[in-house]
Amino acid sequence: MAKVLMKGNEAIGEAAIRAGCLNYFAYPITPQSEVAEYLVRRMPEVGGVFLQGESEVAVGYMIFGAAGAGERVFTTSSSPGISLMSEAISYIAAAQCPAVFVNIMRGGPGLGGILPSQADYLQATKGIGHGDCRLLVMAPASVQEAVEMVMNAFPLAEKYRNPVMILGDGLIGQMMEPVAFPDHLKSEPTNKDAWATNGMDHRKSKSRNLVKSLFLDPVQLNDNNLQLKAKYERMRAETVMSESYNTDGDYTGLIVSYGTMSRVCRTAIDMLKAEGIEVGMLRPQTLFPFPEKALADAVSKPSCTHVLSIEMSMGQMVEDVDRFVRGLLPVSWYGKCGGDIPTPEEVIDVVKERFA
């Protein structure tokens, strides 16, 4: 398959089209506006829909409306924009509609900055909207992986009838790398006649569908939340993904890191190896569900004395790492945010100081 050199943001837009999603609504925000600038030209070529909404709040509901009508749809934004969309995400999860949200994270809180960050981990995995809702969250570490995750996101969103989020830091959007769009990841949208408001005439049953999230009867509300919970349990069983690095032999400590940060750690691990220091790494590819079993396996290695969560944030994923290490080993955090990305040399210093 021929590779092309593409900016992450453009590749993400193209990946959605290649996956079979021809509907995009968005509001501009740095560092991901190139997705919209790419798709405004590309969507008409494939007969798709492009609309720039008046705000992220409105875009969230454009996504809800289109998803509720049974069409594949996605949007892209960055941290402050995702905060505004989080209301709609809660509604979409409650109404059990599939949709894909891409968050190319920038520094926060507040207006923060526009440089790469991973400070929306907790928002994406635990606090995306009010109520008992969760997203399936995938975190790419390269432009190629972003492409594959976007292409996979649509069938997964439909499988679980739940929003899926691609959580990339600003570099994933801004960087250019060679990419290929795997044909086998193209998928047909599932038949949504059982629940979507795509018009009664359209359906064999000729009975109407409601897309809603209001359950005034506490028993019904509880039932709906139990359905959501069951789906999240299924995600935990079926959809968790992670990658290990340098974990075949013994290692004195384990780094847990994702996205661009994990690549910096990989370089640090190679440099440490050259000095004779062995450090392993677990890279979560899904952040929710978190690869808790892979983590438990990795820390069970007798040589491992310490677990270090390295993030472009002030320590968010470390809460999950700590939770799943269950007190078996010391867990610590290292990170920076706001675009000042830790270098391999800094990672090496921290490793040496903490456990090597």
């Binding site: 969230g60 009508a69 749809v73 408001t197």
Partner: protein
């Protein structure tokens, strides 16, 4: 002898939860009759608001989505853009449309989205128990303006039809009421016209319907009709505010 009266197919058998003297029931019926007459029930999607009409889908028998407060026009935009063949309408109250959802309705209207909005203006928040709305009249007492709306503090009530008619994008914007039979026929005609413009893919359309809320106004249904006619209609004057060229 044939039937002289029958319930529209687009209206369900459910008893509504609306208060005595409330006009939502009449407006629902006009929408249902329109859907029947145009033969579009099988490809119509309604959007319910947050407000008294949140359960509109229990009474109107077609596909429905339920929006968050004020966001119905954004949802309608989403549906209509990806499925232009569907007939889409939002049914919104004055708190929903003119307060929290003002941004969404202005931008949808300005983009010329080809859906229809039924805007029920009864000058108060109904479902939450009678708080002040952007459309509450000067001096009108509500639970959050117990001394009457003070326009020095919160400004004058917003005339939505006039405001949207000021946009340059072609649209059908009209204000009607249903408090008496003589108004109902006109309102029906306007609603049907609005849906017809959508059917013809002509323009955005909004029918503002000046309505009653005797419960939260603290009036009997008859007093409410009287107050609507004398006070509300004097400020919110019925008529067509914009017609597409």
């Amino acid at each position: 002898m044939g039937k002289t009266f029958k319930k529209p197919e687009a209206l369900s058998d459910a008893h509504t939860h609306y208060c005595p003297g409330c006009t939502h029931g009449v407006i629902h019926r006009l929408v249902a009759e329109t859907i029947d007459e145009l033969g579009i029930r099988g490809r119509t999607v309604g959007i319910a608001p947050v407000g008294c009409a949140v359960l509109a889908y229990n009474y109107l028998n077609c596909d429905f989505q339920e929006a968050a407060h004020g966001r119905a026009p954004a949802m309608a935009t989403g549906i209509k853009r990806v499925r232009p063949d569907l007939m889409v309408f939002t049914y919104q109250g004055d708190g929903d449309l003119a307060s929290i959802g003002m941004g969404e309705i202005i931008h949808a209207a300005n983009r010329g989205e080809k859906f229809t909005t039924i805007f029920v203006n009864n000058a108060i928040y109904g479902m939450t128990g009678g708080q002040m709305a952007p459309t509450t009249m000067p001096g009108q007492r509500t639970s959050t303006s117990p001394l009457g709306r003070n326009v020095e503090e919160v400004g004058m009530p917003i005339k939505v039809a006039e405001l949207l008619a000021a946009l340059q994008t072609p649209a059908y914007i009209t204000r009607q009421t249903v408090i008496k039979p003589k108004y109902i026929n006109k309102a029906k005609k306007a609603i049907k016209q609005a849906f017809t413009y959508q059917l013809e893919n002509r323009c955005f359309s909004l029918v503002e319907v000046v309505s009653t809320c005797p419960t939260n106004w603290g009036m009997t249904p008859v007093e409410a009709v009287d107050w609507t006619e004398k006070t509300l209609l004097a400020y919110y004057q019925p008529g067509d505010y914009k017609i597409p060229a």
